[in-house]
Amino acid sequence: MSGPTVVMGTRASRRAAILGLASVALLATVPAWGSAGMMRFLVEVLTLLALAQMWNLLAGYAGLVSIGQQAFIGLGAYGLFVLTDLALLPAVLPVVGVGLLGAAVSLAVSPLVFRLAGGYFAIGTWVVAEVIRLVVLNTPQVGGGTGVTVQALVAMPAAERQALTYWLALMVGIGSIVVVALIMRSRLGLALSGLRDSEVAARSLGVDIFRAKLFIFLIAGVGCAVAGAVIYMQLLRIQPNAAFGIDWTARMMFVVIIGGVGRIEGPIVGVAAFFLLQQTLAELGTLYLVILGGVAIFVTLLAPGGLWGLITSRYPVALFGIQRRLLLGPARPIEATPANPGGSP
């Protein structure tokens, strides 16, 4: 007997996996042959990819529109400074440490911000980020308003530091994709897709929505903190207003919106589009940002699936086997009687 079966992989997704592994392998060899400038650029790309994946996880999958993720980037930056320069930990350990810091802070603030829904949740997370910024700004031990430089990293041989930063960025960038893919393949992912369709329906299926959302918020906090630490391993100079700036979140949002909200491929396409736009329009200065905002608005209104949505509407492909598709067995009529079509429209 052949009933309906649920499949997740597609032929395209298996091909994409091979292609993906090949490009990861290629990226891994860059320190051996790439220039310093190329590595710097790739660190920017990979960390932004990680941030965008985290924001997509929050907003696209869990419906948590945070505009306060810069809190975790700043915490990652300052955590890096504290653990490297003050606690004198060797280079990789601080990055692990800021991950734990991100987890702790997201757990600590979640009872507050989770009391707010939708757009008010967004501003609530923003206020939390502002509070952390102001506290850091008024803490002379971490440089107050002028900020700090991570001296231990400055003292490192440049080539060594660059290679280390690059490796970490590669791990963070690829890791973010792997984490999102694993989450979406898990039971939690199924719960989240249900949540996106209807919170009431998901709840009636016994999904603990609060815990699912909390878990996502936690993962995103860790991801953004780690990415923040790696970003500042490259920048070295940490200033509170920049590290806790809303620009970080604006950038993540832009990448996700233009790439495709709620699709794992979205941030990848979005990052490519973002850097392409930056290369071509950056000399316009503030007008460039006006254009970015305008593009985000019009994509949201006119092409809510983003670039990836436009691509897949023409060529139905899924690069990651995380969508569940129902394959119906032969000769199985489906009763298409609606539950209540005469109900209130």
Partner: protein, 291 residues
Amino acid sequence: MEWVNAVLQGALLGGVYALLATGLSLVFGVMRIVNLAQGDLTILAAFVAVSVVQLTGLGPIEALALVVPLMMGLGYVLQRGLLDHSLGRGVLPPVLVTFGLAIVIQNLLLSIYTADTRGLNAGAIETDSIRLSPEIAIGVLPLLTLIVAVAILVGLQLLLSRTGLGRALRATSDDAQTATLMGIDDRRMFAIAMAIALGTVAVAGVFLGIRTSFGPVDGPARLIFAFEAVIIGGLGSLWGTLIGGIMLGVAQGIGNQLGPAYPVLAGHLLFLLVLAFRPQGLFARRQERQS
């Protein structure tokens, strides 16, 4: 005595925060949109006032006669032309669209007016004060600000409770689809609500601009104050909003006494305390935050 003064100054400022909060909660109440661009629209109103003052030679308070209708018109057009299209597709589109709008406005202001801070000069009224005792004096301008704010809130309250338009707005807020069965054009109501909100916010923007200098990037702070006053006061009541605004102002006044770094932080902390211990707000009439 310094402390009494600080509390008093803060309380007087509360009226402006209440106006900002009213803009936010009116739009949320009718359209279920949290307008993330409201802070930048507040700053935009102040810059429009700068230009009106330059072009006409009017004082900033007189300039309101032009700024308010302009902002109301902008609100109407924004709602009809842009924000309407983000409705009915879940939580995400309105948030993304208003955030994108915030970025557009902020950077347009930067490219038109540069990053320099500006001020609005209302003349002698800024320094006049009424002495209550040898140590305590109330500035005429802050007092006027509070009176104007309260007058606007009373006006809005009357509009909503006594007029046909107010009833139609409240009906739309309750159930927009059923409102259309009464012959109410819900989209028009949305646009009117946005116009009223931006008119209200414009008054606050200009008075804040007279009080302190401002720059194109100060919008987010204005948005956060509005939001904090809404949450502190509780949704659903204009008077709760006024108390929320005044409490926020008082917290900032007290913070200011502690040091120049603390007024904003003190306001944030009051907000977080309310959120932690009384999330429905101090004066909530009914629970509707979990939209």
